[in-house]
Symmetry: C2
Amino acid sequence: MDGMVKVPLVLLYSSIICVLYFEWCSLSSQKLYANEKDAPCVWNMTDLNLSLPTVFMITPTYARLAQKADLTRLCQTLMHVRNLHWIIVEDSDSKTPLVTRFLKRCRVKSSQLNHTTPAKSLPPKGSHNRTKNRGARQRNVALDWLRETYKPGDVTGVVYFGDDDNTYDIQLFEEMRYTNKVSIWPVGFAGGLKAEGPICENGKVISWHVAWSPGRKFPIDMAGFAVNLDIILTNNNARFDPFGEVGYLEPEFLSNLTTVEELEAKADNCTKVYVWHTQTRKPRVHNEGKVPTSIETKK
Amino acid sequence: MDGMVKVPLVLLYSSIICVLYFEWCSLSSQKLYANEKDAPCVWNMTDLNLSLPTVFMITPTYARLAQKADLTRLCQTLMHVRNLHWIIVEDSDSKTPLVTRFLKRCRVKSSQLNHTTPAKSLPPKGSHNRTKNRGARQRNVALDWLRETYKPGDVTGVVYFGDDDNTYDIQLFEEMRYTNKVSIWPVGFAGGLKAEGPICENGKVISWHVAWSPGRKFPIDMAGFAVNLDIILTNNNARFDPFGEVGYLEPEFLSNLTTVEELEAKADNCTKVYVWHTQTRKPRVHNEGKVPTSIETKK
């Protein structure tokens, strides 16, 4: 009889603790907690699965009107992805308070780095970013940081170069997560096409769907491939040439690491689009300064 | 002794069940399940809290190159919001397969409606959408749907008009959730300003930060207010005038429902920006059709 009383009581207690824990987690999640040390609970039971490879996403960013909006919606996308480490590299002399505050609120594990592009290497004012290889130096800084931080074999992971105004379907990260060497898939709105990328069969690249400069060895956009972390860690020449020709950054980078034959086809044999090269239109703020404001637009 | 053995066993069993349930939930979440009937589990313990008001988000949409990308990142934002019901109204003669398929994958409770804007009311090709009141008819269709579907008192909720290319910080939805009549806050990149909106004190609107047409009674963007569901259900004249002047749609709509004195100030007394009127640049696909493709860009 004593045992009979104890059993439902213990059950009740453990159930209550369990419900309360997840209730607390979900309530806290409304407050958008920040990095590793601030995260108040294990958000996702599968995060405990240490065998799940980590996605290291490298994102160059720079100060502009829509920066906070672009970073905010990207953060909210990445919050769905398990075991993701977001490496943000600002194009600036020092870490900006806007990005520091943003990352503190964004509930994604992150590292904030910075590196200034010399003025002469910046695209002319008002021109499209792709007229110069903006972001190359920042991606190299992140690659160096990875090589300084991890030794080969330390962590199972994959490295991905994801700009801050692209659109990512979260399925993309599950496609790239298990990459032995280099994986590849199509990118929407790249190369003047609705989607540019490899044509694949049985997990291998057999040809390319490309209109612009099809002679390139790897005619692929920055957002269209991922590299196993150990390949990055064991190849000091895994870096981008900031003086390279536009559109040839990716082919040159990949040529140092792999062959077309070795590429691992993802996204249902390269038939699905899970990432789009979207761009946010420059906001029109022609009335700014005409009226005083108390609204915080700099945070 | 018998009881001593039973207690840890029961504890172990209940713990295993609990862990397995959440493990299953989080694993399934990677697969992006769709609407109500497909949702395989309670994603969030607080969804069980029936007293949490529902956010009815009304989103007009239309076929264009970036539609799927824009809807995808918006879906991934809304997936974080508890008790949200997304009402998508397509500007088309019938429900398009692209949006139907998209909503089946998007793990947000949703309803798909449609209504065609007459050709003569569409903005001229290549012009900015705001030159005509695009979306007014679609929002009215959603408001009528709400009035047909619910009776006053049926559901505690709030109605919000959120376009598909805006950027939303998920905190916005918690700000608007408890709205007695009409709540209000600033909107980034509206009215030619970094942020346009009310100036507030002690939860009330005392003035406006506005440069364009400041004489309007409610000089506020569509994304800058929310209305209690019962106000919509009990006011058949809560609708937008598709022939109204651009920028006067919102003031006219609100004039029928409330006064400036009654407005409930949100977002830290209207000092924070949680929504931005971003726009996605029209993708450049000038090479499309020049090369055959096997990539699915129409789904």
